[in-house]
Amino acid sequence: MDIRQEQLQAGLARFLGAKWRPGTTVMDLVHIPGGASRETWRFMAAAGDESLGMVVRIDPETSLIDTDRRTEYRAIEAAYHSGLPAPEPLYLEQDVQWLGRPFSITAEIPGCQSSPDAFPSQHRQAIGEQKWTWLGKLAALDPKTLHLDDVMPAATVETCASEQLAYWAKVIVDDELHPNPIAHAAIRWLKRNLPPPAQKLSLVHGDYRTGNFLYSPAGKIEAILDWEMAHIGDPLEDLAWSMDPLWCWKEPQRAGLLLPHAEAIRIWEQASGLRVDKHAFRWWQVFAAVKGIGIWISSSEEFETSANKKPILAIAGWLMTDREQRILADYLSPHSAHRFVRP
């Protein structure tokens, strides 16, 4: 065990001893790979005869996505209490006395994985059906009943698309290390072709994709993860992001490497009670690729200019920007062969 682990173990034991059970011990601390926005560790907390698997997400000194941990935590709470599969939220701690940085703790969901490479082939259909059913159920929730007004900016059905566009266009302009003519052409296209008002406002997960949910070996989705970009907006935003070709690069005809695109949309429509307007959905598809470029460009900028040299930042910044540019050229070029599915 290295010094970082020892300090973390001691800090968690002190915190849980004060907040959960006196005399808590912390064991089996494991650093979970992959996350670029937060430092994530899995561990077992034990006190007397009681033990509970937990996951702690610690604010980084720098982050790929600059978000408020409170927004993420409250979104998980809202989802969990609405009956969606989400990890049970346990603690949100802003005080740096415990771990040196703010953090949140949720219950661990054991025995699951998130990797799309490990999808059991016999469960792909079932996982896909659950994935878009849960997204439809999230879309159907009334955001007013979730009481998120204090952590998420108010949105309207008329302006949520232009506001999201303005946000991510600014990220691209502010963070690009080199000019991105395809991204700029796409931003202009989006400004010229704004979609009709959203059918309703929903809690938008913001990063709902293959890789961001946990599934059991039996093919059951047990938890939706990574709510850090959650906001109130058009539910089509999540649907388009979930079907971005980036998440099914090896099999573009199979959304999220799970289902044919038309089937994913049909399941989502059934679960949400909403209809997919083709014009609006196309706008959100192009937006999804622009937002992706915004995230990946930020990640490149972070890798280049900050002390954070996590290789995941560079991988995201180089490889994902390359692919998202090809997606946008495919969507928008008048000469495109349209390799990627459009509804």
Partner: protein, 147 residues
Amino acid sequence: MIPKGSGGIAHIAGRIVQDLMPRAGDVYMATDLIYLSLLLGMVAEDYDRATDVLVTEERELVAILGKASAHMKDEGLRKRIAAALEKKPASLRVSDLTARSDTLLRLLIEVHEAVETNDAAWARELDGEIWRFLEKHASLRAYEVPV
């Protein structure tokens, strides 16, 4: 001089996966090593092709901007295009070619914005030409990464 630099980098990437990764202390370290190996694979691709991509694109951008310049209503843009076209890359170093590419791509963004909503025949033709360039621009930078 390392004439086979891309092969050398790819060899290092392979050694990381074959020799170091199995000795990683935990899953986090093993994953980091895989990422580093992937990154090196991408650096190897760029090492081999960067000059070719940047020189080829410089030629194409100069042609597009030269054709566009006379049609631009914005006098300031015309002048900036003219000034850029008078210059050459400072050298064939990738850093100099990249700086040149950045200058020309910024001008291309402005030109594209000016032509894409114009229905004149010259503008439609130029818009098509810019999109052909952009498609190629994206494909020339594509990485062959097995993920």
